[in-house]
Symmetry: C2
Subunit: 306 residues, 2 copies
């Protein structure tokens, strides 16, 4: 592990790849890596990119990389797919769309498989961000592919969250309603050159901006139109956040991370416990005791002063 | 509570409505109800209906009610929407589609809001099923609207799980791939009268049936075509399950319910604990200790012999 971490701190690509794979495996070595790199981390800024499938997130991220590189940043990209191994094909396709940056030393693009446990994706993601951070990448873009729950979670990991919407799919407004109005710092109406874009833009403005400090922008990711302005908006949002209440948000973020990890650990404890509680399960099956009483009794034996 | 439960056991509709509302509130009264009714429950059979949005689940459920009623069953329907309060409109619309059964004493239709906590929908759902069960409904149809995670969870609650697919939307195969191939006992290609239905039917057969004991059927929910055969298939599947390994599945189900409840309780304990752990959070923020070490230290103080 020491040699991997040494190479990581020098920004060597093989070490980044190896470290993230170790994190995905989620074994004892993953903990070791985090323990060794944690104190070096915390320099990079994290940009979350989320929104419904087909909104053009990957194409947009590809163009964002270009703009950031032109401005001298080193850019890491993590693409996360919560919906199991099978859809990995889609992500590989997305990576190909970012291929033009594949040979650039200042760019690192990686898709991530999800860890098994609940809250597991968040943990693996936070740790992978740290890997890229200590390897010298100062802007890390996290792209989430799909499912609503992770979309919302990304905003608790990223410094700035971008919600990308597509005028072509009627579910954009649905997607906004389903929790996304709360999480975005910047809303992007992509494919702004097609009909329906202005309608969506106005809808989003009225839904999102009312009483909230959010920005709504239009882009055409395929041509790169509006992406410069998007990166401007991201950087402004970062500056504002770093000067206003940063410490409080950082505390919330640490609490939320500790919560994820603690819960994962408690989950294991509870699973083991329940597997040993044959008698209690039997009693519930015979309807001698209801599930809440049974659970209380199990919890009281697991938790101190519970 | 006693009077509600008394009325519930007599099948009075106001008591059903009141009891499910109390369950949704998830307070101390919810526990009381479950404690009082649990030993009377366990007679009803639960049919889960899941699949992508727009597959025609609600229309199909409406027709299933008709077939079950004609066969003399008393049918309860619970429609669950995981995506927050705002989409409640859609479910109300769905309930209207089932309206023809609204005045029938042998039918009870109810949409359910999700509880806040993780695993909360599952718990509220299991308890609402018990309410309908003790009120004398012997077939309970649980319809899940949307999100993949709940779709999969429903199969751990229902006795028989039906996955409904729509030939019109290209994402059917995607949906099947995203975990749904594992959960269904019966796959229904709905809207079987439109083009693409046979293609989807063959796709589903080759994806799902290989090596698994699953049935694939075609229906046209709008006309009721194939619904009689669907109900036949459900009943056959129920019979088979009751005679083969029922006890083992029941044990798994109880374990899974206890796990959900225990985890919810541990979540509360952990949340309170972390809020009090200002010092630990500070140390992580200063990067004096990494999050895993911090979490371990918190867990060791929460868990006995941890």
């Amino acid at each position: 592990m020491d040699s991997i971490v040494d190479a990581l701190l020098k920004g060597e690509r093989w070490a980044i790849a190896k470290a993230i794979s170790v994190l995905e495996d989620d074994g004892i070595q993953a903990r070791e890596i985090v323990e060794m790199i944690f104190r070096h981390s915390g320099k990079a800024r994290v940009v979350g990119v989320t929104g419904p499938a087909g909104a053009g997130k990957s194409t947009l991220v590809g163009k964002m990389i270009g703009v950031y590189r032109a401005r001298g940043f080193r850019v890491g990209v993590l693409a996360v797919d919560p919906s199991s191994s099978i859809s990995g094909g889609a992500i590989l396709g997305d990576r190909v769309r970012m291929q033009e940056h594949a040979l650039d030393e200042g760019t690192y693009i990686r898709s991530m498989a999800s860890r098994g446990a609940s809250g597991g994706i968040s943990s693996a993601l936070r740790d992978a961000i740290r890997v890229l951070d200590v390897a010298g990448f100062n802007r890390i873009i996290v792209e989430s592919v799909g499912a609503g729950q992770l979309d919302v979670k990304i905003s608790s990991i990223a410094d700035v969250t971008i919600v990308v919407l597509n005028p072509q799919t009627g579910d954009s407004i649905q997607a906004i309603k389903a929790g996304l109005t709360e999480v975005g710092d910047i809303y992007v109406v992509n494919k702004a050159d097609i009909s329906g874009a202005n309608l969506l833009y106005n809808d989003v403005r009225s839904l999102v901006v009312d009483g909230r400090d959010a920005v709504v922008l239009k882009t055409v990711a395929s041509t790169g139109k509006g992406v410069d302005e998007l990166v401007d908006a991201i950087e402004r949002s970062l500056e504002k956040k770093l000067s206003n209440g940063y410490k409080e948000r950082e505390r919330k973020r640490v609490e939320s991370e500790l919560m994820d990890i603690v819960l994962g650990m408690l989950l294991k404890v509870a699973q083991e416990r329940i597997r040993r509680e044959h008698d209690m399960v039997d009693r519930v099956m015979k309807r001698e005791i209801d599930p809440y009483r049974a659970a209380e009794s199990i919890v009281s034996r697991v938790v101190r002063d519970g």
